[in-house]
């Protein structure tokens, strides 16, 4: 969706991301929401729409904890890690239609000190395929499923361990500049990367995202809420797309096609900007390879050039396309991609200190979820009174 009547990321907030938080999930959520509302310049009671995610704090809990007086609509978007970016589209529709004024997106979870991923309830589509075909074959985690895509892609397009390593090392180098990141004080070098134990080969330990305790929140509004005092962050366009079929990886044809390709094609058609105009990209990084796959699917590279983009042109700060300047899910924390929206917003406002992308005006954000659903948005900096 691309609209001339713009919606804005009006406020963002987060807790510190840690391995084990003493606070409850609700307390983490309240901290992040209070921060986002203050950042937006609204009272928490002005929140009148909420979009959440399966398995994290729910809408009724948020309403109850914050005593929100009049929430008019709420939604859960159920496409896994693609949900956060998709929620920007839904929130935009809400605020531009007048159905709501200030829509809250929130993630709050104890992902590390709560139940481990493999023990949590699965929200994947077509549960029969999971139980009848996958679990019986010893396959029940995202790392295992996506490893099939990774290995085939490496085989077909010449991606190597070096490329995967650079994605992990770049994320960590960025997190080392981010005091809120779970891995702020933990450096990672190639030797340690290569010593990581096998999780689901080709994915080794440092190819895998973190499990995190924490929360973050975003407020979307039709008003930038800046009073010209700081740059506004405009949602220029958002799209989502689905693989064919979305509920099964094994028989997808072509095997490596994903929903993001469709979403990105529509996105770039809808705005007068292209991948080369992006000053940075926040890419859903559940595992290292997914970053390469999505950079290609989103149009930042072709299968022939993706290796060069990663190793030569550069995905670190100072490179051609800084990717995940906060450290991403790999090294900042796993907030299911909502933290990517928080980081993009701060980059566009110039608030990122030592990890600031100089002069950032446009940042793309992708989401990847379930078995190949994709989403993409472009946020733009808008100076002066909006």
């Amino acid at each position: 969706m691309n609209s001339n009547n713009a919606a804005y990321v009006r406020g963002v907030g987060n807790t510190r991301y840690v391995k084990k938080a003493d606070q409850s999930v609700e307390a983490l959520a309240v901290t992040a929401i209070d921060a986002a509302a203050a950042d937006a310049g609204i009272a928490v009671s002005d929140i009148d729409g909420i979009i959440v995610y399966h398995g994290h704090i729910g809408t009724d809990e948020v309403i109850a904890q914050l005593r929100l007086p009049d929430v008019k609509l709420r939604a859960i978007i159920d496409i896994g890690g693609a949900s956060a970016v998709s929620a920007l589209q839904m929130a935009s529709l809400y605020v531009l239609s007048g159905a709501a004024t200030n829509v809250l997106l929130v993630r709050a979870i104890k992902g590390n000190s709560g139940p481990r991923k493999a023990k949590r309830r699965s929200f994947l589509p077509s549960q029969q395929f999971r139980t009848q075909l996958e679990y019986v074959a010893g396959c029940n985690t995202p790392a295992q499923r996506y490893a099939f895509l990774c290995r085939r892609y490496m085989h077909e397009h010449g991606l190597t361990r070096e490329h995967l390593a650079e994605i992990a090392l770049a994320a960590r180098a960025h997190a080392n500049l981010n005091p809120d990141a779970q891995m702020y004080e933990r450096t990672l070098d190639m030797d340690e990367y290569l010593s990581g134990r096998v999780i689901a080969d080709p994915y080794w330990l440092y190819d895998c995202c973190l499990e995190t305790d924490g929360a973050c929140a975003v407020v979307v509004s039709a008003q930038p809420g800046t009073d010209g005092q700081r740059p506004a962050v405009k949602i220029l366009a958002t799209e989502e797309g689905h693989a064919d079929p979305p509920d099964d990886i094994t028989n997808r044809d072509p095997f490596l096609h994903v929903g993001l390709e469709k979403a990105a094609a529509r996105l770039w058609d809808s705005i007068s900007l292209g991948p080369d105009d992006m000053d940075a990209a926040m890419v859903y990084d559940c595992f290292t390879f997914e970053v390469a796959h999505q950079l290609e699917a989103a149009g930042f590279a072709t299968p022939d050039t993706i290796g060069r983009l990663i190793l030569e042109d550069g995905i670190r700060l100072g490179g051609k396309l800084p990717v995940n300047t906060h450290g991403g899910l790999l090294s900042e924390g796993h907030m299911v991609g909502l933290n990517h929206i928080v980081e993009a917003t701060r980059q566009l406002r110039g608030e990122c200190g030592p990890r600031q992308v100089s002069g950032a005006r446009h940042v793309a954000i992708t989401g990847w979820g379930n078995l190949g659903d994709g989403s993409i948005t472009v946020l733009g900096r808008h100076d002066g009174s909006a």
Partner: protein
């Protein structure tokens, strides 16, 4: 591979019952749409191509090629306690479908992209209750040098 603790799925689920019944007899049985003749996998109650709801289950040659795989190093799946093990996606030779299954009969490090594999029917669960379709290299790996391209 010890399969005694692998939980049986719902073997009477009508969408999968002929598949499990076939496996119990050592046969690879898949649904072919009676409307458009396509082999549908995974099975669906309505053919996505022609909307037929009629399917005839037929036996297939238990041979294919290894399309992709992962080597699981951290045990997470119910009943799969011992790691490492390989689970892969096999492209069937005689129908344009791919099947997921464990890859046995070779060290995971000896697996090669697109190598020929054949089905092995393995009793699973505690009685045993059902039969799993596993895949193993068709060629005798011990007789051939390691593929340098792997």
């Amino acid at each position: 591979m010890d399969l005694r603790d692998v939980p049986a799925p719902d073997l009477e689920d009508p969408l999968f019952q002929p598949y499990w019944a076939g496996a119990a007899e050592g046969k690879l049985v898949l649904p072919r749409c009676s409307g458009c003749e396509r082999v549908n996998w995974p099975p669906r109650s309505v053919c996505p191509h022609c909307r037929s709801t009629e399917f005839a289950w037929a036996e297939h040659q238990p041979h294919g090629t290894l399309f992709s795989w992962t080597v699981v190093g951290r045990a997470t799946a119910p009943g799969y306690h011992e790691v490492p093990y390989a689970v892969g996606i096999v492209a069937l030779d005689d129908a344009p479908v791919r099947l997921m299954g464990t890859i046995v009969g070779a060290e995971p490090s000896a697996l090669v992209m697109d190598m020929p594999v054949s089905a092995r029917f393995a009793p699973a669960g505690s009685s045993p209750e059902f039969t799993l379709v596993q895949w193993e290299p068709t060629a005798d790996l011990s007789a051939t040098p390691t593929n340098p391209g792997s």
